[in-house]
Symmetry: C2
Subunit: 217 residues, 2 copies
DNA sequence: TTCGTCATGTAATGGGTTACATGATTAC
DNA sequence: GTAATCATGTAACCCATTACATGACGAA
């Protein structure tokens, strides 16, 4: 149906489901805790999105066929179902993985916006190094723009701003500066990763399969 | 008419117009620079809001009656009109001032949300000390909640988050902690102001009223 | 047996942005 | 004379939240 789901929500859902299949309720908690940091996502957004992704064939309901009562059942996604109530556990389809790669590979302007950045960053483990760098640098230059405009506002203080507004600007500027320094460190670290590793001749189109990454920061 | 305008936009408009009359275009720049820091407000939001406030009688179009060509004309709001084109310069009415006081005095939960806080803070110069304290403390406890939930997420790291997600959380936590420290300083400073000054016209802490506007009510 | 949490969903609503339309004024 | 900026506005759309509705399950 509607092509209305936002790219960041879609990315969050696909990315999390790729790590491990889940039902909606759990997914929502993960989104707000793993990616969110910020505000909680409401079910009114999540469930419709899941329905669309399902209709588009990017995700599928999991019928946990294996081990009807084996001891290892509770391991993968927590409990797959509870009592008699059938939980709708979603998993990523092949198409979904493709779409996820597409979204992860874009790294365009949407990825250095406030919202998008956090989500993209959270999935860096599944992202190519060059894309990681592109996103980090894009984000940085976005923040540098903001720094400049705050500095400009601070400079023309002749515009009679009271001390509170001034303090607000000062603090905001410091926050942004701090974040830029953080990005600088990350970028340096990524550059190192990007230059040294002729180790794995694999990854023609990209990312190696599992998330069992060790790549320290 | 629609009771649809958001409280923070209304506050921003009223608060800025109280400082100095302005037309919409200028107002928008001020909102995004003085209050915004964050993202720009679009005209599609601002103008309808102005129309509503006008209809509600909280603001009025200024007909600069005084001094048709006096030398002091350009001082207050920049040029009041430009060439032959009549700019719609809005000013706050008496009702508007009342409403502004109402909004400034509330200091409820809306004022410690991310958006609301910045706007309320920017107008602290026109806010009573006790309300300022209430807002700062409310904001702080909001941030402390967030800190707790991030810490919780960090603690249960057993949940196999990769190093990037971890780093994201770590950085997010530090940001919030930093902001809490900032609030602590502000609160301490406000407490001092609140305790000492029954008579003192000068406030030695550096925060003084400055809204030295002439009330043209 | 009642309350809290888990779990899934829908409809209405809200409030913002984008895109569009228009035109005057200033700077080059 | 033409491009950029100033200036005002409307309509369509986007997408998230809120409020509502439902029900199973575990614990007190």
């Amino acid at each position: 149906m509607g092509r209305n789901r936002s790219a960041v929500l879609e990315l969050a859902v696909l990315g999390l489901l790729r790590r491990t299949p889940m039902h909606g309720y759990e997914l929502r908690k993960q989104i707000t805790s793993v990616l969110g940091l910020f505000r909680a996502l409401s079910y009114g957004s999540l469930y419709p999105c899941l329905h669309e992704l399902l209709a588009a064939g990017l995700i599928a309901e999991e019928h946990d066929e294996a081990e009807p009562d084996g001891p290892a059942r509770a391991a993968s996604a927590g409990r797959a179902r509870r009592g008699g109530r059938a939980l709708k556990v979603y998993r990523l389809t092949a198409d979904g993985k493709e779409r996820l790669q597409e979204l992860l590979g874009e790294g365009g302007p949407a990825a250095w916006e406030d919202d998008g950045f956090g989500v993209h960053f959270a999935f860096f483990g599944q992202t190519r190094v060059d894309v990681r760098l592109r996103i980090l640098e894009g984000r940085r230059s976005r923040l540098e723009e903001r720094m400049e405009s705050i500095r400009a506002a601070l400079t023309r203080t002749r515009e009679r701003v009271d001390s509170y507004t001034l303090e607000l600007h000062r603090h905001g500027l410091e926050s942004v500066e701090r974040e830029v320094r953080w990005l600088n460190e990350l970028i340096a670290s990524e550059r190192q990763v990007a230059s040294e590793p002729p180790a794995a001749p694999e990854s023609p189109t990209g990312i190696q399969e599992n998330t069992s990454d060790k790549e320290s920061s």
